[in-house]
Amino acid sequence: MSETQVVPPGIVQSAIEQIFQTMYFTEAGFVGRAQPPSSALGTTVGFFGETEGEFRVTVSERLACDMAADFLALEPGETSPEQVEAIVREFANVACGATLGAWKPGASFHCAIPGPLERDSAPGEFPYCFCVSGDGADLAGAGADLAIDIRIR
């Protein structure tokens, strides 16, 4: 009987923190298992290879808009809904590759093109949640605005 594989939280935490520091110039605070943000954009990335599964991401609308503005060097409010959605997809793509690469260095993976995550297909708590703030807010006291689930098949 095969054991269910779970990506250690520390691996996900480290990968996500590095992405936010490098691409969005802000900090991501790990809050563990939590409910995903209620008003959010979702995307999913399938991965194939030595381990197969799905990397699911939901990002609060506010954080997604902030990420888009940072990434594109625009003022908040100057980004289009299409750009915001594209940023979430790009984030999911990079986060999937970074997490899998850190989890199983040397393993062979292939990440699919990100697609939409239907809200109804992602009920309940997500195991890897973050509070991201670029304005110095208290991360510990705020709710999660980024939620990740990694489902290994």
Partner: protein, 125 residues
């Protein structure tokens, strides 16, 4: 001026990389393409010094693009930098074998991009 062909199916990623390239301080002219098929046509027109390409794209993948560039006599002086989220060693090996000159994984900083470009341009025949 260094001619760079930037290939990614994500317009926001092309925007980000183009901005990072401008921040390197290198005198660069950037042409963009949304997949390997469009990139190959543009490459044969502009004969770029460097192609920076994603791997996972519709129509024609980055891997196919690298192979075609490597096989095209007109592009023998063109260097190829793969910029991808795929960190697997096997993929890196495949791309090197296909003819890629450098392989960077996202997230990438302008500094890393700059160093890689300088390294490739310095090695240009």
């Amino acid at each position: 001026m260094t001619r760079v062909l930037l290939v990614d199916d994500s317009p926001v990623m092309r925007h980000y990389v183009a901005r990072a390239l401008k921040m390197t301080g290198i005198d660069i002219a950037i042409t963009e393409a949304e997949n390997g098929l469009v990139a190959m046509k543009k490459a044969l027109e502009i004969l770029p010094d460097v192609i920076i390409t994603d791997l996972n794209m519709p129509e024609m993948s980055g891997q196919e693009l690298v192979s075609r560039v490597h096989a095209a006599a007109e592009l023998s002086a063109t260097r190829v930098l793969v910029l991808t989220a795929d960190r697997s060693d096997s993929r890196r090996g495949e791309m090197t074998q296909a003819g890629a000159d450098a392989y960077l994984t996202k997230p990438v900083t302008p500094e890393i991009l700059k160093n890689s470009l300088i390294g490739m341009l310095g090695a240009k025949p």
